[in-house]
Structure formats: structure tokens, C-alpha cells
């Protein structure tokens, strides 16, 4: 049954949101499936998931309908997408359907025959619970038109009015942002209106109305750069360029590769539900708490905790937020090690994670060593190639703090990285005493911000701390 097998693009077009593809991809491996098979009408299989029983999944690839015993309310769920991906890669053999698939297909045939007989064909898609054990938990989307031949074009997902309206609003907001950027470059950055927060706040408010809150935050941060130092024009111009890049990419999400589309969507402000993230494949490791940094974003205090896998050496970032008199997450002590499952948000670089189950109490982290400055630059460059709009990236270097021309630098035999102007490097200097030390820092376009020094017998947290008058003492 190779005729009629879908292309990968057709499968991806069915995904209700970018994160669905990200969640499905790790499952699209033959090892995750048993009893897979396909015929001229359907494709089916059992996916080994987190529950005791495997999920029974079947897809009608002719009339485009889905059935899965998983509890997800997203249609199609990640299992259905994964099964279709597997099929599109030619990794599903032809077979006779097992009982769960055969019964479902038979019911669908019966319904289609009834519709044909009564000539009561409808044009819009409907919800058919024929195959699911629980209609609410296993919804099945199908078009009730007479059986057509193989799908000539990409199968269309069920229309979702709310989502479509939101996409239209976002597209309009992005178009407006691009027009605004264009006007700024036409009239020039010397325009006095740029020095007023009102100008930027107005734009940020319109972006929030357009549900692209991620860009609104960037615009507000940008306002703080105007006039901040003699070289502000260059920094603001670069940020305007990045905003243009995001505004353009955001309007062409469907043409971007899935991980990149996810990154753009998340960056501009598309909300990813925690449940979707937690439905992904966990990363289990002994995570070393490398550093912490608190920053104020408008009226919210944001805490970033940087973790690094002992075995995988992968970086991960846990975010927590606190409004006035709320508490930030204090469950991660810098210098400790936590054995836990982490779930990554979708994206090309995908640093942000949610913390799943922890397998035991935190322990002191083993001594760690940093990379060279050149290796760190290489790592940063690779990440920025994937996501050029990244505002910060973690690094851990074995380098000494030194001062050249009034600026503090982290240096080793392979080169140097400047610290952000104005960062008070006192404790870093005292702890390293001019000698090389293992330093965890955040790269930003303006320089690096040291967050922690990992010494032989202790780890010193030197990251920016939230004002105690703003956040609640924990």
C-alpha cells in the first residue's frame, strides 16, 4: 500500500499548533510503536507512552479522521501525528487491521454508506465518536463526504475559529510593527519622539492587543536603551533589525521549518500550554544548578535558573515570575545537583524547560570545569544561528577576570569576552583574585553577565538579585 502514502508536509499541515509537531517528532520512531500496520484506508499502531497500557491509535488517511485512546483533547494528538510521520517515512508495514482499528474503520464505513444512501452529505467536518472509548477523551474528526479518492492536496485540519482569528490578529499586529519600524528608519533615529517612553509604550500596547506580547516586551526593553549610553544608536538599530526579522518571520510561519516556526511563534508571544510541554519526552539527568539571574520586566520580576545536565551537558532554563509581593522559585540552590525529568518547550534552541518529577533530594554538585572562551563563542554562535533573536545564552568558561581600557573582560589563552558595562565585578574579582576560575555567565548582545563562580570548595552566586522590597521574602 504505497500509493496514497502522504508526504511529510501533508502530515505537518495537520498539526493544530507548532508544539504538536515538536511533541510528535520524538514519538515518530519505530521503537516507540508496536502492532503498526496500514492498508488502503487506514494506518494504526500502539504507542508506548507514559501510561501502563499503550495508546491505541488509528488514522483514516482517506477521509482524514483520527482515533486515539490517549487522554489528549488535541485533535490530532501527538500520537496520531507521530504515526502518520512514521507512515510517511515508509516505516509502517502493510497488514490486516487489529480489532481496535478494524472495528473503528468498519463503523466509519457504515456511517459513510448511510450518508451516501440518504444523500445527506454535509460539507463541513464533524465530530465522530464512533471509534473512541470515550467521546470526550478521544474525539475523532472526520468529514462526512462520500469516500473520495486519495487526498489530492494537503488535508486540512478542522477549522478553529478562535485560533484563526488570533492568527489574523497577530498577522495584523506584525504588519503594523513592520510599518512602524519602516517609519522610524524613514524619519531617522534622531527623531525626538523616540526619547519618549510614550512612543514605545503605545507600540507595546498595540502589540499586546494583537496578542504578540513577546514582541511588546522586547519593545519596552528597547525603550530603555534610547540615550542610555553614547553608542545607543547602534544597539537600538540592531534591535530594530531583529524586530523586523521577527515580524517578517511571524507572518510566514507556515513556510518555516517546524522547529524554527516554533521558535518564532514562542518568541512573538504564542502561548504554549504547560500540558502540551509536559506531554513531551522527558530529559532525565542529574542537573547541576549552574547559575541564577533575576531581572525586572515591566511589573514582573523574572528569575532564570540555568541548569546543565551532568551526562548530556545540555543547557536548560527554568523560568519563574513574581508580581509585586509574590515569591520567586527558590527550589534550586546554585551549586546543587538535582536528579529530575525536564520537559523542553518547543523551539530550535529550546532552552526553556518545565520541571517534572524529581528523583530524590538535591545534592551538592560535583566540581565542574569550564570551556575555553573560544569554545564558548562557538557555542553561542551556533545557538544564534538557529535563533538570531536570542537575548541571552548561558556559558561556562574557565577564565580570569581582567581589566583593559576601563572594561572588565573574561580572558584565557584563546581570547576574551567583555562584561556588560556597569556590571559590578567585585565579588567575581575577589573570588578569582586575578587567577583563572570557572565562571558561569549569560551572554547578551551587550556583553556577558557573570552569574556564579564555581570554586573548588564552594559555589558563589553573584547573579543579579530581585529587590527585596518588590518580591516577597521566601
Amino acid at each position: 500500500m504505497t500509493t496514497g502514502r502522504w508526504q511529510v508536509e501533508q502530515v505537518l499541515a495537520l498539526a493544530p499548533r507548532p508544539s504538536s509537531v515538536a511533541a510528535a517528532q520524538p514519538l515518530a520512531l519505530p521503537a516507540r510503536w508496536t502492532s503498526t500496520g496500514c492498508d488502503s484506508r487506514a494506518v494504526w499502531g500502539r504507542c508506548v507512552g507514559t501510561s501502563a497500557e499503550p495508546y491505541e491509535c488509528a488514522v483514516d488517511h482517506v477521509e482524514v479522521a483520527f482515533r486515539c485512546s490517549c487522554p489528549s483533547r488535541i485533535v490530532p494528538c501527538k500520537h496520531a501525528l507521530a504515526l502518520l510521520l512514521l507512515w510517511s517515512h515508509g516505516q509502517v508495514p502493510e497488514a490486516s487491521p487489529p480489532p481496535f482499528a478494524a472495528t473503528w474503520i468498519a463503523k466509519r464505513r457504515a456511517i459513510a454508506d448511510t450518508h451516501r444512501d440518504s444523500e445527506a452529505a454535509t460539507t463541513g467536518p464533524n465530530v465522530d465518536a464512533a471509534g473512541g472509548n470515550d467521546p470526550a477523551a478521544s474525539p475523532v474528526v472526520a468529514s462526512a463526504a462520500p469516500l473520495p479518492p486519495l487526498p489530492p492536496v494537503l488535508p486540512f485540519p478542522a477549522p478553529n475559529k478562535t485560533r484563526d482569528e488570533r492568527i489574523a490578529r497577530m498577522a495584523a499586529g506584525l504588519a503594523e510593527l513592520d510599518r512602524w519600524l519602516d517609519d522610524r528608519l524613514r524619519t531617522g533615529l534622531a527623531d525626538p519622539s523616540l526619547a519618549s517612553y510614550k512612543t514605545w509604550d503605545g507600540l507595546a500596547a498595540r502589540l499586546i492587543d494583537a496578542q504578540v506580547g513577546g514582541l511588546a516586551n522586547r519593545v519596552r526593553r528597547l525603550a530603555g536603551l534610547v540615550g542610555a549610553h553614547p553608542d545607543w544608536h547602534s544597539q537600538v538599530l540592531a534591535e530594530l533589525g531583529v524586530l523586523h526579522l521577527l515580524a517578517t518571520s511571524g507572518r510566514h510561519l507556515q513556510t518555516l521549518p517546524p522547529p524554527l516556526a516554533d521558535s518564532v511563534a514562542v518568541t512573538i508571544g504564542w502561548q504554549v500550554r504547560q500540558a502540551d510541554v509536559l506531554a513531551g519526552v522527558p530529559l532525565t539527568d542529574h542537573w547541576i544548578v549552574m547559575g541564577r539571574s533575576d531581572t525586572r520586566e515591566d511589573r514582573i520580576e523574572v528569575r532564570r535558573v540555568w541548569l546543565r545536565g551532568s551526562a548530556t551537558r545540555e543547557w536548560a532554563m527554568v523560568l519563574s515570575f513574581a508580581a509585586y509581593q509574590q515569591s520567586l522559585d527558590i527550589s534550586f540552590d546554585v551549586g546543587s545537583q538535582v536528579h529530575a525529568d525536564l520537559f523542553r518547550y518547543p523551539g530550535a534552541v529550546a532552552l526553556r524547560v518545565l520541571v517534572g518529577p524529581r528523583h530524590g533530594d538535591a545534592q551538592p554538585a560535583p566540581p565542574i570545569s569550564g570551556s575555553s572562551v573560544a569554545e564558548a563563542c562557538e557555542e553561542i554562535g551556533t545557538a544564534l544561528t538557529s535563533e538570531p533573536w536570542l537575548e541571552r545564552y548561558p556559558l561556562c568558561v574557565g577564565a580570569a577576570l581582567t581589566r583593559v581600557g576601563g572594561r572588565w573582560l573574561l580572558t584565557d589563552s584563546t581570547g576574551s569576552l567583555p562584561l556588560v558595562d556597569g556590571v559590578i565585578a567585585g565579588t567575581l574579582l575577589a573570588c578569582s583574585a586575578g587567577r583563572p576560575a570557572t565562571v558561569m555567565a549569560e551572554w547578551t548582545p551587550a556583553g556577558v553577565v557573570p552569574l556564579a563562580i564555581h570554586l573548588a570548595d564552594r559555589v558563589v552566586d553573584i547573579g543579579p538579585v530581585a529587590e527585596s522590597s518588590f518580591v516577597k521574602a521566601s
Binding site: 513592520d178 519600524l181 519602516d182 517609519d183 528608519l185 524613514r186 524619519t187 531617522g188 533615529l189 534622531a190 527623531d191 544608536h233 538599530l237 540592531a238 530594530l240 533589525g241 531583529v242 523586523h244 526579522l245 517578517t248 572562551v373 573560544a374 563563542c377 553561542i380 554562535g381 544564534l384 544561528t385 538570531p388 580570569a400 581582567t402 581589566r403 583593559v404 573582560l409 580572558t411 584565557d412 589563552s413 584563546t414 581570547g415 576574551s416 569576552l417 567583555p418 567585585g426 565579588t427 574579582l429 575577589a430 573570588c431 583574585a433 586575578g434 587567577r435 583563572p436 576560575a437 551572554w443 548582545p445 564555581h454 570554586l455 573548588a456 570548595d457 564552594r458 558563589v460 553573584i462
Partner: protein
């Protein structure tokens, strides 16, 4: 008006900043140098000068960021002179933070005990201590003694850590614990046996001899009683009937006694650990 082709990305960027500052209504964007940016302009031509500039700014910003390269290797600064004293262990740092936050009355004793124990300050404490006491000549001088050569070296690199007090420190005062105000009739408690000291303070709180108005003087008393009295004092105060009106004060004094005991135990009883910064 067509600009000449610029040779490097840096030059090109500077020229774009100039045009962006003036606005494309007044000046045309520069022509990109040969390479990726020129290809981008050719592949996706933009209709207006401002759109051309925006496209090139985005491309150039991405190229510059993703192409991050290390700066040239810089000369290391000369380290401070060696200090043979072992540094205070991490637990002492945590206790100092608690002292500063909850019971600053103990800080002088803490610092003097660090000095007398033959240790030097952990490096992460040097900056906060020098900064905290820069307006007090005696305490600043005491912090410098505890910090050793690292303290003097840090002031060379960060002059804001230098002492700003106009008076000079009195050398004798640096090594002495400052006196605290204690009522004359309570002075015998300072030299009493642990049992006697505990009975006087806890009994006074239970019987109502001491009330909230005695808070300051009782804190001073607990901060100066003999260290050997502290465990018993903490226990005795902790046993006070919770229905007593002075229970809040008793709770605070018990906490102070326990923290002071912990502070002295950490600094005097722990074996010296020979550790140096990496």
C-alpha cells in the same frame, strides 16, 4: 544618490547607523559589501529605501551576533600577595548573612572571632564587608585585617570599597569587642555560671520582671554573656510557658542565643580547612 561599496561589515554597519540616525528621507542606504548581505538584497529586492535599510540592518545584526568571536587575549592582572591563613568555610558565610539580616549586634564579635581563629575571610565576603563598613573606620580596619592582602588589593581595583570615614581608626579598638549598654544590676550575669545566667534571664521573663521595654538591654546581655552559658540559656528561654505575655521576646532571645552559639562553634570548634580559590 548611490553610496560607494563598503569593504567590511563593520564599516557597512557604521554607515547604516549614520543613515538610520538621519533617516532614509535624507540619505540613501549604503550598498552592501559583496557576500551574503549583497545576495540577500539581490534575492529579495525591497521597493523603498527604508525597507532596504531595514532588511540590511536585520541581516547585518544577525551576521554580527551569530558570528561572535572572542576578543584578543588580554593580560592578566597581578594577583594579591599570598595569605597563608585558611579561609572561612562556606557555612560561616551563610551564618554571616543571617547575622547581618537578623542580629547585627553579633557582627563585631563574629569578625573578631574570625581574626582570632587564625582564619581569613572567605573571598565572597570581602566585598560586602568592606562596602558595608566603609563609613566606620574601626570596623573597616577590622574587616581589612580579616580579609588580609586580598582586602587591600580589592580596594586598589575598586576604590569605592575604601573607607570614607574622616576619623582614623583607634588601633586598640580594632581588636576589642565594643561595649554594649547593660543595666548595672544585670552586670553580674555576664560572669555568672551558665545555670545562674539562664535562671536569671529565663526566670525574669517568666515572672514578668522583664518585659518588652527591656528588649534592647536583654539583647545586649545575651550578646555578651559567656559563650558557655549560651546552650543552657537557649534551652531555658525556650521552655518558657507560651501563654506568657513575654513569649515573643523570649522567642527572639532564644534565637539570638542559639545563633551566637552556632557562630562561635563554627569558627572555634571546626577544624581549619586549607582551601584556596581555584
Amino acid at each position: 544618490m548611490t553610496s560607494p561599496v563598503l569593504s567590511t561589515l563593520g564599516e557597512y554597519w557604521r554607515d547604516m547607523v549614520t543613515v538610520a540616525l538621519l533617516g532614509t528621507d535624507r540619505r540613501d542606504p549604503p550598498v552592501p559589501p559583496r557576500g551574503g548581505l549583497a545576495d540577500l538584497a539581490a534575492d529579495d529586492p525591497q521597493p523603498t529605501p527604508s525597507q532596504r535599510l531595514l532588511q540590511q540592518v536585520a541581516g547585518c545584526a544577525v551576521a554580527q551576533r551569530a558570528g561572535v568571536l572572542p576578543g584578543s587575549r588580554a593580560q592578566l592582572i597581578s594577583p594579591p600577595d599570598d595569605d597563608p591563613r585558611p579561609i572561612t568555610p562556606p557555612v560561616v558565610t551563610a551564618t554571616w548573612r543571617r547575622i547581618v539580616a537578623d542580629w547585627p549586634v553579633l557582627e563585631d564579635e563574629w569578625l573578631l572571632t574570625v581574626i582570632h581563629s587564625g582564619r581569613r575571610l572567605a573571598p565572597e565576603l570581602v566585598v560586602p564587608l568592606l562596602a558595608r563598613h566603609r563609613t566606620d573606620a574601626t570596623r573597616h580596619a577590622r574587616a581589612l585585617v580579616a580579609a588580609g592582602p586580598l582586602g587591600t588589593w580589592m580596594i586598589e581595583w575598586s576604590p569605592r570599597l575604601a573607607c570614607t570615614a574622616k576619623s582614623r581608626p583607634v588601633m586598640e579598638a580594632i581588636g576589642e569587642l565594643p561595649e554594649l549598654a547593660i543595666m548595672p544590676d544585670l552586670l553580674p550575669v555576664l560572669s555568672a555560671s551558665p545555670k545562674q545566667a539562664a535562671r536569671t534571664i529565663a526566670g525574669g521573663l517568666s515572672s514578668g520582671v522583664f518585659g518588652i521595654s527591656h528588649r534592647a538591654v536583654l539583647i545586649n546581655l545575651v550578646a555578651r554573656v559567656q559563650p558557655a552559658s549560651l546552650p543552657e540559656l537557649g534551652e531555658a528561654i525556650g521552655r518558657i510557658d507560651p501563654s506568657q505575655p513575654t513569649i515573643g521576646l523570649a522567642f527572639a532571645l532564644a534565637d539570638l542565643a542559639r545563633l551566637r552559639d552556632q557562630m562561635l562553634t563554627e569558627l572555634l570548634a571546626e577544624p581549619l580547612i586549607e582551601t584556596e580559590p581555584a
